[in-house]
Amino acid sequence: MEFRKQKSIYQQIADRLMDQILAGMPAEDERMQSVRDVAASMGVNPNTVMRSFDYLQSEEIINIRRGVGYFVSPDAKTKILALQRREFLEEELPVIRQKMKTLGIGIEELTKED
């Protein structure tokens, strides 16, 4: 049983960029690394990274300032967390639930302090 589907590369890159924004690198209102630099650092096709940026823009996580570049939106973190929460509930949780059932792990394990 797979834990997660293997997402397409543009989605994997978008996920990574969102994780970086959550970690404050870059922070809200700060400038994003350029598409060119992200693509070159990963050795991937710039069009693929462009698609990741387009996706983040469509989710209003980043915005473009003409002639300057992409910037992190002021409320990017809230938006990313909402996206990730939805993805967790829809995609990951059902798998975890199924696995807990198979392994006989009860709900109390989730709240147990180490």
């Binding site: 589907k5 997402k7 994997q12 096709n45 693929t48 698609r51």
Partner: protein
Amino acid sequence: MIEIRNLDFSYKKTPVFSDINLSFPQGAIYGLLGENGVGKTTLLKIICGLQRPLKGTCTVDGMTSHDRLPEMLQRVVFLPDEVTLPDNSTPQRYVSELAPFYPTFSQGAFLHLMQELEVEPERKFREMSFGQQKKSLIAATLSLGTDYVLLDEPTNGLDIPSKAQFRSILSKIADEGKTIIISTHQVKDVENLIDPIVILSHNAVLLDASVQKITEKLYFEYGGEAREDALYSELMPAGYMNVIPNTTGDESQLNIEALFNAVLRNKNRINELFK
């Protein structure tokens, strides 16, 4: 733009292409794939004017390749898989001999590329390993600054660290709007770099599609059981990888080797899915 229309080509009595149509619009890294002997190298040679088609046309920015007009030749560079280099020459002398034919050549770009690939421009070719020679050739080729760059098996002979540098360099060049065509069997070396992907077979173009289109049409499922309806299945350590028609619209991670096998085994179904 490179345009190939109704192209026929054969070596003596061995037909290679019959009625091939392909176009390479500007500003992408095309991956040209195909089994041995399907004519990948021949196609590159036709594009740069080294081979003459029997019938049909191949044009670069509207100029017929085989006319070999200077305006066309200075826009295209072809790096063959194997190049015999003069033992006593150096990368710097080699590129200086090519440079007069290419008005877009940049000595600065050459030195920068040599530095990135960690080869010394003044070192003699005979003192270099095959991989270092190859890296010198890649640096020389790309420093010519042509709009069209044709690379035949460019990662052959490169050591492991150089392959990542190669991808990074190509990614930057593509971002400058250049058109690059990479013919290769080493698909892992250029995975995530080539887009669109063109798969040739004897006498036909089996696939010519962007990665987005491919992942919209085909779903790559990793780690499960083999599927009856799969276009291709392969057992991997974590389970079967299946290539199936994409019915959900979710895009998955493209695996070029699996794509290649799926296309070769299901020519009609692929044709149907992508038309």
